[in-house]
């Protein structure tokens, strides 16, 4: 959040005598000419993204519930104490972490396996890739509705319908008809998100695989390296930065997930995550101070997760800056 933008740093010191000063100000003008194209984007981003967050931080230290306007005032760290001491809120923090870690890890592993499959030559590879990316292209809210009503529904959803069809095939009517959403609400949300994010991870990893130089692998194979050894010592190190890029982007977006939790369980059955809880706290409970404290906690959590992955992105940068 606080990475300094430091565009204005590095001012050249202006010397006392005349010729130096002209040279200095000419360079200054040239510097500003370089910065000029950057400034609109930078100013826009600072105003629209940083100001609301500063306001959120300020409100997070206030007692402010719009039901009780007369009680508005400074509240110290009360709201933060509530976030970590209130069981429901603690569980929202925990759910966010579990949801993010599960979805990112499972979709990374699945995406890796599928990318390895799609990296081989076979008939109809383009068609399979096109089928694979479809889940990523369905509007998230439509995907969530689809999973809830067309797939998980206990009465006519595709999952129970398929079970029924299979049982009927063997002449039985006793197929188990599971109420997926009440039996395993968290897993249901995770499955729908893994379905959406695996294609994303697969795309990034496939791009990584296809950028891998082929001659090293050929040489290793000639020398008798097994497929596993080639994966372990050649493919995996090459893919590392792609895995971490996928993890970083996935984490940033899944921590924020609102659509799936809102739609599939409406935060019920112990599935509420931080974004959903914040939404509820603002628009149902009208507790602005508490909601803001949760927002700040979400940001801090995201930064912690993302910092790990950032180191790798930064090493990627170094490669690029060396051009």
């Amino acid at each position: 959040m606080s990475t300094p933008s430091s565009t204005a740093a590095n001012h050249t010191k202006v010397g006392p005598d005349r010729p130096q000063r002209t040279a200095g100000s000419a360079r200054k003008a040239a510097d500003w000419a370089r910065r000029a194209p950057l400034l609109p984007a930078l100013l826009f981003t600072i105003v629209v993204t940083q100001l609301p967050f500063v306001a959120t931080i300020v409100i997070s230290f206030m007692n402010w519930n719009s039901y009780y306007p007369q009680d508005r005032g400074f509240g110290g760290v009360d709201n933060y104490v509530s976030v970590f001491s209130n069981a429901a809120l603690r569980s929202a923090v925990w759910n966010t972490v579990i949801l993010t870690v599960t979805v990112v890890l499972v979709s990374l592993v699945l995406g890796l396996l599928i990318a390895l499959l799609l990296d081989r030559k076979f008939a109809g590879r383009g068609a399979v890739r096109t089928m694979m990316i479809a889940p990523f292209l369905v509007v998230p809210i439509a995907a969530a509705l689809l999973w809830k009503h067309a797939l998980f529904n206990p009465n006519y959803g595709l999952l129970n319908g398929t079970l029924n069809a299979i049982w009927k095939l063997f002449g039985s009517d006793g197929a188990p008809q599971i109420d997926w959403l009440s039996t395993a609400p968290k897993i249901a949300i995770e499955i729908s998100l893994i379905w959406q994010w695996t294609p994303f991870m697969m795309l990034i990893l496939l791009a990584g695989l296809q950028s891998k130089p082929a001659d090293a692998e050929e040489a290793a194979r000639m020398d008798g390296a097994s497929s596993f050894q080639i994966f372990r010592y050649l493919t995996f190190p090459h893919l590392r930065q792609y895995l971490e890029l996928g993890g970083l982007l996935g984490a940033i977006y899944i921590v924020q997930n609102f659509d799936a939790v809102f739609t599939i369980t409406a935060g019920g059955l112990g599935t509420a995550n931080l974004p959903y809880t914040i939404y509820q706290t603002v628009f149902s409970a009208h507790d602005y101070g508490l909601a803001s404290a949760m927002g700040v906690v979400t940001v801090v959590a995201t930064i912690i997760v993302a910092t790990f992955a950032l180191r790798v992105v930064s090493s990627m940068f170094k490669q690029e800056a060396g051009r």
Binding site: A41, L118, R120, A134, I204, D223, A225
Partner: protein
């Protein structure tokens, strides 16, 4: 890479029949892997196909157990969806996505120029600042934005959404455009400069051709993210400026559950993204890995 050397030492450079056998095994196993890939691909696309198939069934056929795959096809679901007056939300979504994408490009391209072609000092710090704004979940700024919109009377105004979608996509766009512009060969720029080409001339004849695919990829991704956005749209718009995703959530609750209608609505609303995404698969890959693919 050098970690593979021990294996190389252990096995001298003499092709043995065992290795040839393994190579043949690899060839023979290929159809199996291809088949597995097809199975996985079909599993992943199945829910989408199911959505489209259900949208083409009558409500009674849509809600049978076991599923009626071969039931008669009908456009009733789509008729019901279009009679629910989805024009306004679809237009709002198109406006918010297209206009914000255009503004993003107008801001991101010059910024990326200043970060790659003629980089300002400490350009990596600036890049990290842009990325770091993405660490802030939208929801953390939601309340101040809502209060701002109530105070200024911009609640339920599509232009507020356009500004916010611009800020949501700008950092990613700057990153993507920076890595695409970094592809422009420095030697070509220097040569053009020596030949006396002005900045505009250089931008048009050298930078533009290299950067165009990147601009397309960036625009596509900004469009998809804006089209898909729900949380801001749901909290900051209402009856006038509501977007397609908001309409979709309301569609379920106000109508009760009509599965075929719901699937028709979900299909129509996903269609622009599906079409654009399928048409530009390769660009999407490049854009998503933010130009890390060289």
């Amino acid at each position: 890479m050098s970690t593979a050397t021990p294996t190389a030492v252990a096995h001298p450079h003499v092709p043995t029949s065992k290795k040839e056998q393994r190579a043949r095994e690899m060839n023979r196993s290929k159809p199996v892997w291809g088949l597995l890939a097809w199975v996985v691909g079909i599993l992943f696309v199945l829910p989408v196909l199911w959505m489209v198939l259900t949208s083409l069934h009558s409500e009674t056929d849509a809600a049978t157990n076991p599923p009626s795959i071969a039931a008669a096809l009908t456009l009733d679901g789509y008729r019901a969806f279009f009679s629910a007056q989805p024009a306004a939300p679809l237009i709002n979504s198109a406006m918010a996505s297209v206009i914000s994408t255009i503004i993003v490009l107008c801001l991101a391209i010059p910024a990326a120029f200043a970060l790659s072609i003629r980089p300002v000092e400490k350009w990596t710090d600036v890049m990290f600042f842009f990325l770091s704004t993405k660490f802030m979940p939208l929801v953390a700024g939601l309340l101040p934005l809502y209060l701002f919109a109530t105070e200024t009377g911009t609640l339920d105004n599509i232009w507020l959404l356009i500004v916010l979608y611009t800020s949501m996509n700008l950092p990613i766009a700057v990153w993507m455009m920076q890595s695409f512009l970094a592809e422009v060969p420095v030697e070509m720029l220097e040569a053009a400069q020596i030949d006396g080409a002005g900045l505009i001339r250089m931008l048009w004849s050298i930078v533009r051709p290299v950067a165009m695919p990147g601009v397309a990829a960036t625009a596509l991704i900004c469009f998809i993210f804006s089209w898909n956005e729900l949380l801001l749209a749901r909290t900051l718009t209402g009856t006038i400026a509501g977007t397609a995703p908001v309409f979709l959530t309301g569609f379920v609750t106000s109508q009760g559950l009509f599965l075929a209608q719901l699937c028709a609505a979900a299909t129509v609303i996903s269609l622009p993204v599906l079409v654009a995404g399928f048409a530009a698969q390769d660009k999407l890959v490049q854009g998503l890995s933010m130009g890390a693919v060289k």
